[in-house]
Symmetry: C2
Subunit: 385 residues, 2 copies
């Protein structure tokens, strides 16, 4: 049961590939010198296809939450009417940021574990006169649900053509195809510790022309997270404040690995998600999200009645499997298994194997091999054979 | 002339010692697991002696500028009267943050290259009715001047006992003794890429009881940089948002090295500063700051009339010496040599040697060996022999 490195199956920070670890240990350079300017430009340009944008990608030194704050404060003014479509803890957080800075926030709350429907978003958006922005979560990390941003953004444009579409894309961008420009999103945020296979510490905000226009009149105060200051500095490959140099090294290397893998990045995440779901179900777990809205980067399962989760999870840890618990109102009721970034199908098979063995140790009757067999079948099916 | 790693003599990011590089390349762990909680607690506790405080040290994932913003927005409300004592680009930045968030800022501008005098601060503070806070810069990175925070804080307390003393300690804390509690400072900020010998990406804010009290009524909006949210999370070794895990690994290791070195950390910085100043002067450079206020972490020198700095600096780069230019109104007029963090006296001798050789290459008459000899004499004197 010994593992020489844990199977880190939380939805970020994600495990680092060897070459990314090496990048994180590199020596510092002058962050205003030519070498680092070239790296900044390379990261900025090579991220664009993952966002599906031809517009600017702004590099920020902060956690994903800082990126969400940047999305809000750069395009809105106090009193602006905002529709926050929420389906979990991170949607709530996005809404909270807007409230703290004085926006008039209306919430369209979707039951945790479900995804918002376009018709409901269209109706809610149409009801708010002078709607300035809609906050959407692409992948809700707290529930393992992915929303249909293409449909939701279209609904917003239909009901309120002038409203900005701001998207929390933190925990799926890069792992799941995204088409910011084609879908009509105005500002999309992601974070280094997710699909990019790097340490936490940087957020990335893709900013479209409507968002830049809004930034010119937006009155919420901002300085550290001011996107226009960053854009002006990035024009010459710099950042207005000292950037997280080592995280940038890692993101640069993470993107190189993703580029080498090509479209298979997306297929790998889909296969890992399918195997996780099949394996957990075969072991008797009920999943929080329906298949139709299930995330490709994190899976949430209900903790069965009567299972002592604390003891069970301690057993998993001894086996080297690190899972995440529930957040907010799902705390103590679900567990989450992350499968994003440098995840492999082998990692998923290993995770299901550990859970299966631990169930048996806990005296719960499962058919030995049922979980890994189901996961394996899902993998084979995902490979199209 | 070949070097196998540049002599990175900018005032941050500073070069990383080997064990800190190794720490930066470590694998991720669960940032909400016991291992990382213990690390968070260790960093928090072991930083306190460097601040000279028994109060809280809050760990933020951002650049130093984010730390300055946190200092402002957590204790002030729009309209609050603030005295900003400025002596360079970073003091200006601190003042600007307060203005952006709506404070009524009065500036006491000290000539760049000079340090503020306590009497002037006392007079300026006494003149502002209802003064809420004074912004001070401990070490002005743009000019290489260190102010006497003990005297300035005492002057503020004398003139305006209720005014908070907020200190930008970014580029000297840890390299120069500091006594936050004894001097009566309320909030002091530093950054990971300075004396802590780590990559950029984290700021640290020591917060005293008067600052916490002010936070309860402060009305400037904040979310990502909300210090109270961080304090509440840190109580259990966590952070409210995902922390910069790899930078934390590095800071933890950097502090371990500093603890092992003990009081000699301060002596090493003093010796490196003295050697830098002696060496540059022997080579004919005029220094920006008088000896009495000269920084122990960065030295600024005037670019001599007629010297083509761009070509000269390109020559230094070829020799492996990386210096910083001037900022703001000193751009193109000075250069800066950083000597903080993992700097050694050998690095300084090497830097002076490179500058000396480059002067000769540029056709400027200097006595070969004069610079390094003067630096060496200063080192020997600093060792008290």
């Amino acid at each position: 049961m010994t593992r020489f490195e844990p199977n880190l199956r939380i939805p970020g920070p994600t495990a680092l590939p060897p070459s990314v670890r090496e990048a994180g240990g590199r020596q510092m350079v002058n962050h205003r010198g030519d070498e680092f300017k070239a790296l900044t430009k390379r990261v900025e340009i090579s991220m664009k296809p993952f966002f599906g944008t031809e517009h600017d990608v702004i590099l920020l030194t902060c956690a994903g939450t800082g990126g969400l704050e940047a999305a809000v404060v750069n395009v809105l003014s106090p009193g602006d009417r905002v529709l926050a479509v929420t389906m979990g803890a991170f949607g709530d957080r996005f809404a909270k940021v807007a409230e703290v800075y004085g926006a008039a926030v209306t919430r369209l709350e979707v039951e945790w574990g479900r995804a918002p429907e376009a018709a409901a978003v269209r109706a809610a958006a149409a009801e708010i006169e002078g709607l300035k922005a809609v906050l959407l979560t692409h992948n809700e990390t707290s529930t393992g649900v992915t929303s249909d941003i293409a449909a939701l953004a279209a609904a917003v444009r239909d009901a309120a053509p002038d409203a900005l579409v701001l998207v929390d894309g933190i925990s799926a961008l890069g792992a799941v195809p995204f088409a910011m420009d084609a879908w009509g999103c105005d500002l999309v945020v992601t974070g280094s510790q997710k699909a990019w296979m790097s340490a936490p510490g940087m957020a990335f905000a893709a900013v479209g022309p409507r968002a830049w226009a809004a930034a010119q009149t937006a009155k919420m105060p901002r300085f550290y997270l001011d996107l226009r200051r960053h854009r002006d500095s990035q024009a010459s490959g710099e950042s207005p404040w000292t950037p997280a140099v080592a995280v940038m090294y890692q993101v640069d290397e993470g993107i190189r690995l993703m580029q080498a893998e090509g479209e298979s990045v997306y297929a790998r995440h889909a296969a890992c998600a399918a195997a996780t779901r099949a394996g957990l179900r075969a072991l008797g777990f009920a999943l929080l999200a329906d298949d139709a809205v299930a995330s490709r980067t994190v899976t949430a399962a209900w903790i069965p009645e009567g299972l002592d989760w604390k003891a069970f999870n301690a057993g998993l840890k001894r086996r080297g499997l690190i899972l995440a618990g529930g957040q907010g109102k799902l705390k103590g009721r679900i567990f989450r298994l992350g499968h994003l970034g440098a995840v492999t199908t082998d990692d998923i098979i290993a995770a299901i194997s550990s859970i299966e063995a631990q169930l048996l140790e806990a005296g719960i009757t499962v058919q030995p091999g049922a979980g890994v067999a189901a996961a394996q079948q899902a993998l084979v099916a995902a490979e199209g054979r």
